[in-house]
């Protein structure tokens, strides 16, 4: 039997009165504790008794640093909700970034760059989705394959070097501009999260995604076109990875074959931290957003504290595992059921 606690995170669930308020918030308390903890730590270790951690500037900084992972993790949430996985998003991001930057070069039409970023991502997602949905190949294997092949393609397309272009008026705003004082990167990430929430919770398709993830055979017997649902989740994941490619290329005025290496794992970590079950059918996009922010806050806080990046890896890895253990323990009902 699924535990009561896990159930509360399912689609459309109103938590039962027996659930504590804590359980309803998911990982949010951990995010808040980490945020305040880093504030106190940066205050304690600062020389002049001041800290920039809690300032608006730094908060926006955290959000900006998190935005790309948030976009990738949103797409990954769709895939993981169907009990799938997509290891290829880092490579998709690289291919998309390289193709988009190539389109931005002087002898091409830079106006096409943005569509190229996004549509190339969508195309690669459709390739993954076709193999998973219609050829019935295990998603881990499919995306392990495309992860490797697309990484090679990214190096080939970039001819083994970096494509740099500081003259990108068509999409410079995306990575460097801001609206109402908030970077466009953050707006885009927020938009992606909101759109994902809407699809998952308010549309027929969203309910079908939860159904396919929770019980594929029952979904088939209910007349749901399981193949199309699977195709959709890999496609939208590819699309978001392409968008993330645009975001990082614009931010850095360039792209190269090794862009986005390991990003798939950050995205998966955010999804899992957010309480989405790897076995499908349970989870939410808000959980994913909180998960991504936890990773973002840690990265930022540890950097301000001057902790070396090697130790940052260790710390984040430990937090991912500990938070998940804590979550399991916290949500454990008092006695069975």
């Amino acid at each position: 039997m699924p535990s009561l606690a896990n159930d509360s995170r399912a689609a459309g669930a109103v938590p039962s009165p027996r659930m504590s308020a804590l359980a309803r918030l998911g990982m949010l308390p951990i995010l808040i504790v980490l945020y305040l903890g880093f504030y106190l730590l940066t205050l304690y270790f600062s020389e002049d008794g001041n800290t920039h951690f809690l300032t608006l500037d730094n908060t926006l900084n955290i959000l900006r640093q998190t935005s790309i992972n948030l976009v990738l993790a949103s797409g990954m949430t769709f895939v993981i909700l169907t009990a799938g996985i997509d290891l290829s998003v880092g490579s998709i991001l690289a291919v998309s970034a390289v193709l988009g930057m190539l389109t931005s070069l002087p002898d091409h039409n830079q106006a096409l760059s943005l569509p190229v970023f996004v549509l190339s991502g969508l195309a690669m997602g459709l390739i993954n989705g076709t193999m998973v949905a219609f050829l019935g190949i295990n998603p881990f294997v499919v995306t392990l394959g495309t992860m490797t092949a697309l990484r090679g393609a990214a190096y080939l397309l970039a001819d083994g070097s970096a494509i740099l272009n500081s003259d990108i008026p068509a999409f410079e705003w995306l990575g460097n501009g801001s609206l109402l004082g908030v970077p466009w990167l953050v707006w885009i990430a927020a938009l992606v999260v909101t759109a994902s929430w809407f699809i998952l919770k308010r549309t027929v398709l969203g309910l079908h995604i939860y159904a396919v993830g929770g019980n594929p055979h029952a979904a088939y017997l209910t007349g749901i076109r399981v193949g199309l649902v699977l195709l959709f989740v890999y496609a939208i994941n590819g699309l978001f990875a392409g968008l993330a490619g645009a975001m990082s290329a614009s931010r850095l005025y360039g792209a190269s074959g090794n862009w986005g290496t390991g990003y798939e794992l950050d995205a998966i970590a955010a999804v899992v931290l957010g309480g989405t079950s790897l076995s499908g059918g349970i989870g939410s996009i808000w959980g994913t957003a909180v998960g991504a922010l936890i990773i973002g806050v840690m990265n930022n806080g540890l950097t301000i504290l001057g902790v070396s990046s090697f130790w940052q890896y260790v710390a984040i890895g430990v937090v991912i595992v500990l938070a998940t253990i804590l979550d399991k323990w916290r949500l454990k009902p008092s006695d069975g059921q």
């Binding site: 309910l207 159904a211 019980n215 059918g281 069975g336």
Partner: protein
């Protein structure tokens, strides 16, 4: 001969504000089968989970052979010789029978390796005690569910079991396999083991039980010995009222035109099966497990590929290649295993009920939540579903209510043909009666119903006409007064 081996007295258990058990007593004797009965939610499982150390009682005492014991964890129960066999069998299909029996407790040889010859010998001895027809080296994957159960019993014996609890062991067995199981239970009883047997089925309980304990709403509803047992008395104890009209009266005529016409269906498991159901008629599809009842239903529903055959709905030829096509033509199929094939346990009751008709309750792909709530409210009223709200997760509902939710999903498509595969499996008596009522109500509205059931009294009590399958073929058809348990069995087993 028979000594009191287990006494559970004054057992109380609460979950939050819910009282699961209140002052419950249970006494089991060696050399006896003690049946534990009660509707779903009556507290049988909770009581057994306390016995097996999964739950701790809030109050009460457990005595084993006169001495009080504390069962703090499942290992304590095993240590004390208490073993449970759940409905979901814990068998690894990729291992052999002997490996399954001694999983985790294999005899060790020199250097800490598994002593395989000894394991095989010990396994063979246990299998001999049960009189099985398979040996210790047989891979579990080649055995049936009934055989798996025997492997589990052998495993319990390997643990020196003194008390064996079986939770609805015949739920997935054919009548013949159940008969075999009863013989095994008789053997174990003769060997002095106390057996606690949980079941809904009256016939089994009268066949097996020396004593019966009935629970209702967490309280002891009564104790009976074999001599005083009668089905009417038991039903009365379980539901707290006498059920005079267990099966609603059948109407004898007034059926409409032929609604479902299946002709010459063939697949790898079905050989040229044909049947017709009229509007308003309930057709029983009977046969032993493995006779092809579910297979035929899945062919009609388009869930599996058929090789040959022709299907007409309401006089028109239809081409059905997938469940989606079937649903579009107004065919519904309630699968036999509601948890694996039907329900989305992590989704709300509303989502489960509406899953087939989401597009009718959406605008441009966006869910119309008010319309969905209305749909749920209507279904909850019509089927008397007990759920706190439409947002309640289906995984938390009782078996009977889960089944009603699934039934509601099929009613929502306003079916012309409804195929019900074991519609009352694992639901309590109250819900059973409700489901029969709904079936008759639908038939009265002109739906053609096909009802598959392994419970012959149900087929006889509910169906207007019965088609009996044997080895993937139609073995015969019975209608009107011919419909009877013996006639069905004769057709199902004739050679």
């Amino acid at each position: 001969m028979s000594d009191v081996i287990l006494e559970m007295s004054g057992i109380c258990k609460r979950f939050g504000t819910t009282r699961a058990l209140d002052q419950v007593h249970l006494t089991a004797h060696s050399h006896e089968v003690h049946a534990l009965m009660g509707e779903n939610g009556a507290g049988k499982s909770t009581l057994m989970k306390i016995l097996s150390g999964i739950y701790q009682p809030d109050a009460g005492e457990i005595r084993l052979a006169g001495r009080p014991i504390r069962i703090a964890k499942p290992a304590d129960a095993r240590q004390a010789g208490i073993n449970l066999i759940y409905q979901e069998l814990a068998i690894c299909a990729n291992l052999s029978v002997a490996e399954n029996i001694f999983m985790g407790t294999a005899p060790r040889g020199r250097f800490g390796g598994i002593d395989r010859p000894r394991m095989r010998r010990d396994a063979q001895r246990l299998l001999d005690r049960l009189g099985t027809r398979f040996g210790p080296n047989t891979p579990a994957s080649r055995l049936s569910i009934a055989d798996w159960q025997q492997v589990e019993i052998a495993r319990a014996l390997a643990h020196q079991s003194r008390i064996l609890v079986m939770d609805e062991p015949t739920a997935a067995l054919s009548d013949r396999e159940s008969g075999r199981l009863f013989e095994v239970i008789d053997t174990l009883r003769d060997q002095g083991i106390a057996i606690i047997y949980i079941s809904h089925r009256m016939e089994e309980v009268s066949r097996l039980a020396d004593r019966i304990t009935v629970l209702r709403d967490g309280c002891l509803a009564g104790n009976l010995t074999r001599a005083k047992n009668s089905p009417q008395l038991l039903i009365g104890m379980m539901v707290g009222r006498a059920l005079n009209h267990f099966y609603p009266p059948k109407r004898q005529d007034g059926f409409g035109q032929v609604m479902l016409d299946v002709q010459g269906f063939c697949s790898d498991k079905i050989e040229s099966a044909s049947l017709r159901v009229r509007a308003g008629e309930i057709l029983g599809l009977a046969g032993l497990v493995g006779a092809g009842r579910t297979e035929l239903a899945r062919l009609i529903f388009g869930a599996d590929n058929r090789l040959r055959g022709r299907l007409r709905i309401d006089g028109t030829d239809v081409d059905i290649r997938s469940p989606r096509d079937a649903i579009r033509h107004g065919i519904g199929y309630l699968p036999e295993d509601r948890k694996r094939q039907g329900l989305f346990l992590h989704l709300s009751a509303t989502a489960n009920i509406a899953m087939n008709v989401l597009h009718e309750h959406a605008r441009a792909g966006m869910l119309d939540r008010a319309a969905l709530r209305t749909l749920t409210r209507q279904a909850v009223t019509r089927l008397a579903i007990k759920a706190r709200s439409g947002e309640s997760l289906v995984g938390g509902l009782s078996g009977g209510n889960q089944q009603k939710v699934l039934l509601a999903r099929w009613l929502a498509i306003r079916p012309r043909v409804l195929i019900l595969d074991e519609p009352t499996r694992g639901v309590d008596i109250g819900a059973k009666v409700e489901i029969y009522r709904i079936m008759h109500e639908l038939a009265a509205q002109g739906v053609a119903i096909v009802c598959i059931s392994s419970e012959l009294p149900e087929i006889v009590g509910v169906c207007h006409r019965v088609v009996v399958l044997r080895d993937g073929r139609v073995a015969g058809e019975l209608s009107g007064k011919e419909v009877g348990q013996e006639a069905i069995m004769n057709l199902a087993t004739r050679h």
